[in-house]
Amino acid sequence: MKTPIYLDYAATTPVDKNVVKVMLKYLTKNGNFGNAASRSHKFGWVAEEAVDIAREQISDLIKSDPKEIIFTSGATESINLAIKGIMKFYKNKGNHIITSATEHKAVLDTCRYLENEKCKVTYLIPKKNGIINIKDIIKNIKKNTILISIMHVNNETGIIQNIDKISKICNKKNIFFHVDATQSVGKIKINLKKTKIDLMSFSSHKIYGPKGIGALFIRKKPRIRISPQIHGGGHERGMRSGTLPVHQIVGMGEAFKIAKKNINKENLMLNKLRNLLWNKIKNIEEIYLNSDLKNTSPHILNVSFNYIEGESIIMALKDLAISSGSACTSSSLEPSYVLKAMGIKTELAHSSIRFSFGRFTKKKEIKYAIKIIHESVKKLRQLSPLWEMFKKGIDVEKINWKK
């Protein structure tokens, strides 16, 4: 078994070998390297055709029309394009957005930016289980609300939002609905024929495709209009200019095609691996589950080990490539804003770890992970003054800590 074992699939995934094979055909002189915008010769036609096939492969997975897919550099750009694009195009209709406090920074920072541009934003706080209360959405809709943006699957906890219900409200109230589906596509079935979502953002590298490519679904009927954010040659029907990276697009298409073929099988496998891990660690004293297993994408498990700190767990589990719910590993020392918004105590947010699994995770790797989690938690608790106090029956919360 090779270490470190990669258990950070929610951050990114390795590119599938079959995806690489397809991509290689669109790079060199011997391959189809043409510019998809060149209409005057075969090189361009072949490239355009390859892009069209990829658009179909992507649409196949989410049940949309290929013409509803716009390529971007990734989910972040896709989210920016959706939110800013709607707010700018429809600015005469209103300036209010509803989103949630547990969204990805790509949504939150875009909304913050728009607040400087005279937009008003309501950030909904989820229920304790991480789900946005539908009543809260209804309550916060105003006359000038033009957009609701809610993610499908949360990247830290894996919690699934009821986008079906939210879409019905949006349709009824004539509000545009944008969904960040970065973590859900390929893991949870999406049917845009059935669920009336107006805009949906995707990324390729979360489902075994290359980095640097993503897409935005923009509904055609009724036609949704957006203001472009990048201006140039009018590519992607004027909504996103820039020469199409054909090799990345065919890679994304292939990745979506493979995901469609494997979605049921992989879902079952991920469920098994996630449950195996949880069932074998859940008896650790003072462990807290931050993902509701009945309503969480099976590729993510977020737990808190009380009285030990996230970064030190990550250091102890050096044979596992994992990430902390707390942003301790980044330049900020703040614990996870997602967990805090769910009402989880700061201390537990500091102690949280996200394990995420994928196509190449093996059962024996999970078994090894279980073993070293037990050992590391034990070792770190022997080192923890808070654990010592807890064991002596001292209520850590009642101590007057100087902050």
Partner: protein, 127 residues
């Protein structure tokens, strides 16, 4: 975060982990930091009649640098007089462990911990 060899060594082989009885008159105890901030250090010293720290121990809740800072502190103060120990600056810890700027806070906490342990010891002696 990528740490120096020194931090990793102290983290993997922490020196002087443990607890002394707080009831003993020759023991000074400090508890600094806060769980909500992500760091809590407990540092204890055992002082002999000549005012020399003859033993020290710690327990730390926190990141790798917090654990390393407190572990290193216990090593440094052993055999020192209270006055000498009081003079240990956090910058010395930063240098020795090669702490990244965002983790300087951990060294400050270790300095605070030793000062508070000495304060606690002195308070006990006056009683």
């Amino acid at each position: 975060m990528s740490y120096s060899k020194e931090v990793i060594d102290h983290y993997e082989n922490p020196r002087n982990v443990g607890s002394f009885s707080t009831k003993k008159k020759n023991v000074g105890t400090s508890l600094v930091g806060a769980p909500a901030c992500g760091d809590v250090m407990k540092l204890q010293i055992k002082v002999n009649k000549h005012g020399v720290i003859e033993d020290a121990c710690f327990k730390t809740y926190g990141c790798g640098s917090a654990i390393a800072s407190s572990s290193l502190m216990t090593e440094w103060i052993k055999g020192k007089t209270l006055d000498q120990a009081k003079k240990i600056k956090n910058t010395k810890i930063v240098k020795k462990l090669n702490l990244p700027p965002v983790k300087i806070h951990c060294s400050i906490l270790a300095e605070e911990a030793i000062k508070n342990a000495i304060l606690d010891y002195n308070k006990k002696q006056k009683k």
